[in-house]
């Protein structure tokens, strides 16, 4: 669903991505982890077409949607308008199916998005991406600044959409432990390069690099 080949991205003279290969297959849930400034957001921005590759190829199959880092809502518009604008590329702009997945949003539908709490805003950001009825969804920093309970809820929703509707997911997370719990495969990005990739359980057991992102107390 996502194919990235030898991708190089530069901001001016700085190289943010330096020959990255990555693949997400149909129905897969894949984690992308790495330290700050590794180039994770740059990768998904390239998938969205916001950033242009200097060389290499990126392609997505089916409908691609992206929950950007830091929520990035239309603050002056209502929650429902934010959701409906997520459906720009599809004909069905009825947000009911998203209210089904994220029922809290229905009660907030008339509120100005900019006036919501951080967690509520993140729910709107996820809902807005789901409005595009994506075949593949990239989520950039799902857990950033959110209470664990909300993160759990959102992750559960994503897993359900993945299992029940076959939506492929590329999950970018600082919290690698969480990402490894729900994803089958993972890529570890460092300074613009993939340093390790593989099945999550093996990575968690075997790789010192991956272990570094899982924090100290990981039981095998």
């Amino acid at each position: 669903m996502i194919t990235v080949e030898e991708l190089v991205v530069r901001y001016g003279s700085a190289t943010a991505l330096d020959g990255v290969d990555l693949e997400v297959g149909a129905g897969e849930m894949v984690a992308l982890v790495g330290p700050n400034g590794a180039g994770k957001s740059t990768l998904v921005d390239t998938l969205s077409g916001v950033v242009r590759p200097a060389s290499g190829r990126v392609s997505t199959e089916g409908r691609f949607a992206h929950v950007p880092e830091g929520r990035q809502l239309f603050g002056d518009l209502s929650v429902e308008d934010n959701l409906r604008l997520g459906a720009w590329k599809v004909r069905d702009r009825d947000p009911r199916h998203v209210y089904g997945v994220l029922p809290d949003l229905e009660g907030l539908r008339g509120r100005r998005a900019g006036a919501l709490s951080g967690g509520q805003q993140q729910m709107v950001a996820v809902g807005r991406a789901l409005m595009a009825r994506p075949d593949v969804l990239a989520v950039d920093e799902l857990s950033l600044g959110l209470a664990p309970k909300i993160v759990d809820d959102l992750v559960r929703h994503l897993v359900r959409l993945n299992r029940e509707e076959g939506m492929a997911v590329l999950l970018i997370e600082q919290n690698a432990r969480l990402a490894f719990e729900v994803c089958s495969r993972a890529y570890v990005l460092e300074a613009g390069r993939v340093v390790t990739a593989g099945a999550c359980d093996e990575l968690a057991r075997g790789s010192a690099v991956a272990r570094a992102y899982l924090g100290g107390g990981v039981a095998p």
Partner: protein, 287 residues
């Protein structure tokens, strides 16, 4: 008392022209971050075309609509020149609009000559609360009210209008969600052309128009628009109307030579008061 009301009505009418030019500036700025210096020229194109079309025997109504269409096309061309190349910085695009405005002088003089032209407008007088007023003044006020109502409904009630606001509110998010931001910017220039064209068509019967009339229009339009941080069309309406009325009162009771100066001083005072009241640089893009 009668004189006062008469001044107010004529001030409202000319202020409507400023408001329309100002809202054209807002339409482009809120989506692109570009101050479109060709905005006054759109109005001049509207006014001069209306005069030419009427001179060619085209009926009232049709001539004016055609003139607005020409202004919209000029808006589209300006947008393509200013932002047609992807990734053009707003500051660069601003300079291009300035250049388009100057280039337009040459074209306008070549096509229409350099003598001011006027159009007949709606003839005759009528009485409002016992005060004799020009019927064209009332027409200008009525048409402007309808245009702003339509603009408000478009921006707040339609999907396309909300997408325009979304581009203004968060261009990055707009691109991420797949809204074609570049095309929306082009659309904003066309909208600006329409608003400018309507202004020109309405003002031409009030003030004879020549190729360089854009200067007064853009100065007043900008003063009106900057009240709302260049992002709020309804504030531009209030600002334009206020400016027109103050000018008419100054001309009526004081010295007509000072009308623009006084109006701009008033505007500056309002801006300073506004800035003191809301010191943050946060930009609102509500309508």
């Amino acid at each position: 008392m009668i004189a006062l009301l008469a001044h107010i009505v004529s001030g409202l009418a000319i202020g409507c022209g400023f408001a329309l030019v100002g809202s054209g500036l807002v339409a482009v700025y809120r989506v692109t971050g570009v101050v479109n210096f060709a905005q006054g020229m759109f109005a001049v194109v509207g006014g001069l075309c209306a005069s030419a079309f009427l001179g060619a025997g085209i009926w009232h109504g049709a001539a004016e609509l055609l003139a607005v269409a020409v202004a919209a096309a000029v808006g589209a061309v300006t947008g393509l020149l200013a932002l047609g190349r992807p990734g053009t910085a707003p500051m660069t695009a601003l300079i291009v609009t300035l250049a388009v405005g100057f280039l337009a002088y040459a074209v306008l003089v070549a096509v229409f000559g350099d003598t001011p032209r006027s159009t007949p407008g709606l003839p005759g007088m009528t009485s409002l609360l016992g005060v004799p007023v020009r019927r064209h003044h009332l027409l200008v006020i009525g048409v402007t009210a309808v245009v702003f109502l339509a603009l408000w409904l478009f921006l707040t009630r339609t999907y396309l209008g909300k997408a325009l606001t979304a581009c203004a509110s968060n261009p990055y998010a707009a691109r991420v969600t797949g809204i074609p931001v570049a095309r929306m910017a082009q659309f904003a220039f066309v909208l600006a052309g329409v608003l400018g064209g309507v202004a020109g068509v309405l003002v031409a019967p009030l003030r004879p128009m020549s190729f360089d009339s854009d200067v007064t229009l853009i100065v007043h339009g900008f003063a009106a628009a900057v009240l709302g941080g260049l992002t709020r069309p309804m504030v531009a309406l209030a600002g334009g109307v206020l400016l027109g009325v103050v000018e008419a009162l100054v001309a009526g009771y004081g010295n007509a030579a000072y009308q623009t100066t006084v109006a701009l001083v008033v505007m500056l005072a309002v801006m300073i008061w506004h800035a003191a009241r809301r010191p943050s640089l946060h930009q609102e893009v509500t309508v």
